[in-house]
Structure formats: C-alpha cells, structure tokens
C-alpha cells in the first residue's frame, strides 16, 4: 500500500455514523426496529433539546426509545406511538411541528413574507419603469436628431 493516507480516508468513509441506540434496546424484528428508528428520529430529546431521542445518549432519551419500542411491540401504529409520547410531553417533542391553529403563522409566515416582498418588488419596479421613461423634451429630441 503506497498511500496509507488515502487508504485511511477510504476506511473512514466506510464507517457508519454513530448512533445512541444500544444493542440491548433493539427489537429482534427488523421491520419493527426500522419503524422505531424512524419514529425516534422525529422525537425531540427533552433533556438535550436539539437532538432527537435517536441521537441522544441521555438516560431519559434511552427510556423514551424503549417506550417507543414497547408501544410498537404492543401492535400500536406509528401515529399512536407518537401520540403516546405527545400526550405526556406535548407537541414540543415533535421535531417537525404539526399544522394546527397555533402554528399557522409558523407554517404560512415565510410564504406570506415572500409574497409580500414579491408584491413590493413588483410595485417598486413598475413605478421605476414609468418614472424612468419620461417623453423626450423638444430640446432632447432635436439633440437626438442631430446625432
């Protein structure tokens, strides 16, 4: 091997991203485990608030991952499982806020601002166009003719 640096880099690229999920938490059923992983990725860890419970090493995040898996094992749907956590910790635990009256401004706000800005730009450019093209005065017309 002539290029140990390159080889090391390639090996690093093979490494899977680290996960907080411990082997003893995982479900034997791979389909259920996959659902548990995707649900956990959507749920905020309440201790370390910018991580999902799937990412977090906090003991409470581990407990919540186990609860998610218990609910799935009981045959609950994804929505029911998320609902189980939300009734206890509130919408705050959803990393993606739901669309409801309290969040209309949040979801619609950026589009409303974009629309408003676009409208303002349109009005402004129309005005400028009309302002920039006044009819030539007789003196200007004469000058143009001479050129």
């Amino acid at each position: 091997m002539k290029r140990p640096g390159l080889a090391a880099l390639l090996l690093l690229m093979l490494a899977a991203p680290a996960s907080a999920v411990q082997p003893d938490e995982m479900l034997a059923n791979p389909a259920l485990e996959a659902r548990a992983r995707s649900i956990s990725a959507e749920l905020r860890c309440v201790v370390c608030q910018n991580q999902s419970i799937d990412d977090s090493d906090a003991p409470l995040a581990r407990d919540l991952r186990i609860v998610v898996r218990e609910q799935l094992t009981l045959g609950k749907s994804d929505t029911e499982t998320i609902g189980y956590i939300v009734t206890r910790y509130g919408n705050f635990v959803l990393l993606k806020p739901p669309l409801e009256p309290a969040t209309y401004a949040l979801w619609a706000g950026p589009f409303a601002l974009l629309g408003l800005g676009g409208a303002a730009l349109l009005v402004w450019s129309r005005r400028r166009q009309t302002a920039e093209a006044p009819p030539l005065s007789p003196a200007e017309a004469a000058e143009l003719d001479r050129l």
Binding site: Q49, P59, L60, D63, L64, T87, R88, G90, F92
Partner: protein, 177 residues
C-alpha cells in the same frame, strides 16, 4: 406616505428585536406540563424498603398534596430538601417518587437528609416518570383533593416559590370542595 414606507422596515426590525428579546427572558428548558387540570396518571409503585408500603395515584384523594420527584444522584435536590421539610412541617402532605434511583441509594439519602415524605415510591425503570412527563429532577406537582394536577414546578422549590406561589395555591385547594 413615502417617508412612512421607508420607516416601515425599521419598525418591523424593532418589532422583531422586541419579540426575540422577550423570547430570551423565557427558559426553554421549562416545558409546559400536559397534566395541568388532568388527573394524575395511574401508577402503583413499590416503596424503597423491601416489602414496605409503596405509593399509588389513588393516595391523592381527599387532601391537596405535593408530589415531589427526586433522586439521590440529583445535584439540586439537597438544596430543595430543607424546603420540603418545612412544607411537611407546616402540615401539608408531601409524597416522593425516587426517579431512576437504586432503593438502597434512596434509603441512604433519606437517612442523611431526613424524611419529609409521607410515602416514597421507587420508580427505578422511569415509566411513571414518563407518564408524568418528567424531564429532570427535581420536579414537583401540586395535586388537588380530587387527584387532579393543578401546578407543576420544574427545578427545586425555593423558599420564595413556596411562599409566593405554591403555599397560597395549596391553601386555596384546601378550601375547595
């Protein structure tokens, strides 16, 4: 009119500064409890003594009570403990849940600091804590005489919080029928 149009972005900017500035004064760790005005979730936990009495949600009937979630490993709990001792000394019912704590550690902790609790439950697995929406310790719930949660304190109860907020509430709940 033209001048107003120029001032508008400045006003909008100042409004945003105001909103964000107000946001900074709030504690993002303090999540609103989902349990306010709802009954305590059902639970039945063993005590911290082997074979000793445990604690169930059915104990919270007839008299307003304070349910304190603590742990022997919790850093802020020794600071809160004298206030709990005082609350129980003033004749209020105080119950404890030891969260994710080995019963032996809880027993040692109580032996060291004293026991203000009428009963202490051991929630080693942390399931009841999740039903209560616990995010850390200490956290406390004021439960009315019908077993409904009326207030949640996140973090230690200081003497000031007890005097100004929790004690008046518990006195009011006592008067409720």
């Amino acid at each position: 009119m033209q001048r107003l149009l120029f001032i508008l972005p400045v006003i909008a900017f100042l409004a945003l500064v105001g909103v964000f500035g107000f946001g900074l004064t709030k504690d993002p760790k303090a999540l609103p409890s989902q349990l306010i005005d709802r009954p305590l979730p059902p639970f039945k936990l063993p005590g911290i003594e082997a074979g000793g009495p445990g604690l169930a949600n059915t104990a919270f009937q007839g008299e307003p009570a304070l349910l304190n979630v603590f742990a022997s490993w919790c850093a802020a709990c020794p600071q809160e403990h004298p206030v709990l001792t005082r609350i129980s000394g003033e004749g209020f019912a105080v119950y404890g849940i030891a969260w994710k704590d080995k019963p032996q550690d809880t027993r040692d902790w109580i032996a060291r600091f004293g026991n203000p609790y009428r009963a202490i439950a051991a929630d080693e697995a942390g399931h009841t804590a999740i039903d209560l929406g616990i995010t850390g310790v200490p956290e406390s719930f004021v439960v009315d005489r019908k077993g409904r949660v009326r207030f949640k304190q996140i973090g230690p109860i200081s003497p000031e919080i007890w005097e100004a907020t929790i004690k008046p509430l518990m006195l009011k709940l006592r008067a409720e029928t």
